[in-house]
Amino acid sequence: MEHKIIFAGFGGQGVISMGTLMAYAAMAENKNVTFYPAYGIAMRGGTANCSVIISDDPVASPVIAFPNILVVMNEPSLDCFTDRLQEGGTLLANSSLIRKKAARKDIRSFYIPVNDIAEELGDSRMANMAMVGSLLKIMNTVTLSTVFQTMKKTFSPKLLKVIDINQEAMKKGFHAVQL
């Protein structure tokens, strides 16, 4: 088992949090895991992305040339990364902000309106958590409850106060996906 996931979106969409949360949770399940952020000037201004590898074997390079899972939170990210997705790979796209569909036919695609899900909960910043929920469902490697526990451990005091709504969003995202 080896998941090579790229998360991408706008700065402010919580892309890095998605990645680190997944990495922490995978660690808690004793997987081999690496997290690799975009850094330096690439982090500046508009966009953000990070790479997470979750594997049974030790991870070679944490840099993902060709992901088998791609999570995109906005349209520029879809445009930028879709070509790199492996044949047969999985795309998760935030259909609240991404109006078009990926052109490729050799991949599995899921369009989840995570901003809408989040707004239903009254906080559009929860879109990323909803997306994590969807991802968990699709990956079927890390459980929702592990992620919940991880959140308790890793969230800052400020975030802990809003942990419930985070988890709620995640659950909604989880159930939004039909496999």
Binding site: F10, G45, G46, T47, N74, E75, P76, L97
Partner: protein
Amino acid sequence: MVKKGKIEVRIEHCKGCGLCLTTCKLNAIALSTADVTNSSGYPYVIMINENCTGCTMCAIMCPDQAIDVYREQEHS
């Protein structure tokens, strides 16, 4: 008499920083809403009324040279 003016915004160059807005004493411009963005994902500047006098202040302030300004000329 106050002259009439207008601006042209290079939408793809605008980063929605909003600095031009702060200089426009006549509130002639505003940013598009978050879901109306250019292809880089930025909201951009639009004229929201006819107040513009072509004073060029907004253009002077723009870090991205996104604004050109036009002004009615005196007839000589």
